[in-house]
Symmetry: none
Subunit: 187 residues, 2 copies
């Protein structure tokens, strides 16, 4: 998660840095003491969240059958598979062979199914957002009750909504600056 876009944030560190070059070659021996060279098992203890939608069956079972068919496609990577035309999401769940694939499979298993807000839900959320984009826990709970949503969904919605607003502001400002800095050559 952190290494993907590592060039994103400007890191004002200007000391001589051994971070990327040779981390195992530090003069002090923390790495050795801690056995830094051992294979990493950092993923074992992380990412365990409460995901009730994974447990339940029946109406709440959003997952697709795991052992129905065999995927007749050979792919080298999950991304290839994902981008392959004609391969439905349903089929993707059914391959149990490849490691990367399994990893991705479990990944799919662990993600909450995307919530599709109804029109009215959106309408109310937007109305509240216009007045207060940072509703407290009480308002969120009340909204959750009224809208038949988890409070978590409310909170996430407001977070995403704030990000969207900020994005739009940024774009607006960018365009304004761009326009103001661009002399109108046409005339």
């Amino acid at each position: 998660m952190c290494e993907a876009g590592a060039a994103m944030s400007p890191n004002p560190q200007k000391r001589s840095c051994v971070t990327e070059t040779n981390p195992t070659k530090c003069s002090f021996s923390i790495e050795r003491i801690l056995g830094l060279d051992s294979k990493k098992d950092l993923t074992s203890t992380v990412g365990k969240h409460n995901r009730p939608w994974m447990e339940c069956r029946g109406v709440y079972d959003w997952r697709l059958p795991l052992i129905s068919y065999n995927l007749p496609i050979q792919v080298d990577s999950v991304s290839n598979l994902l981008e392959k035309k004609g391969v439905s999401v349903y089929e993707k769940y059914c391959d149990g062979e490849r490691l990367t694939f399994k990893r991705e499979l479990s990944w799919y298993r662990g993600r909450r199914p995307r919530t599709a807000f109804s029109r009215n839900q959106i309408e109310i959320l937007e109305n509240v957002f216009r007045v207060n984009s940072y509703p407290g826990i009480d308002v969120r709970e009340e909204l959750a009750t009224k809208l038949c949503l988890d409070e978590d969904r409310i909170q996430i919605w407001f977070q995403n909504r704030r990000a969207k607003l900020k994005r739009s502001h940024r774009e607006t400002q960018f365009l304004m600056v761009k326009d103001s800095l661009t002399p109108n050559i046409q005339e």
Copy 2:
């Protein structure tokens, strides 16, 4: 994160629901929606902390120019209001009147750019964490030197890491209790 408050309660959403019926007939109290009942003055603490990235210019100035773009406005209604009154962006920063407004602004004015730790940094931090999740100032300083990070980042990282660990423990316990209380009817 997203586990605030009611994160532990799997909400089956079976309550009586007004979502589709009458969205405009909500019984929210104005004060609560507006967040006026629990509004705290966060502005009094602004500037109380040491935030060198706010002061410096040049290479350390991660911010975009205050004027023209990267408008740190979130509440569009207020923003529109001010702009209609001819208040410039810079003036908005200096506005000492509106608490909610300053609250929004303070986040943008003084927020440190998100640090993207490298893979090696994370690896070392995780290794240290396994051995000691409460490193003293000496270890933190040593880590900071070796990893080319501010000691502050180290401290925050361990703080967040402890929170993460605690979260995972809590969720594991929750699942265990839930499982033990759920008789396996399928046998």
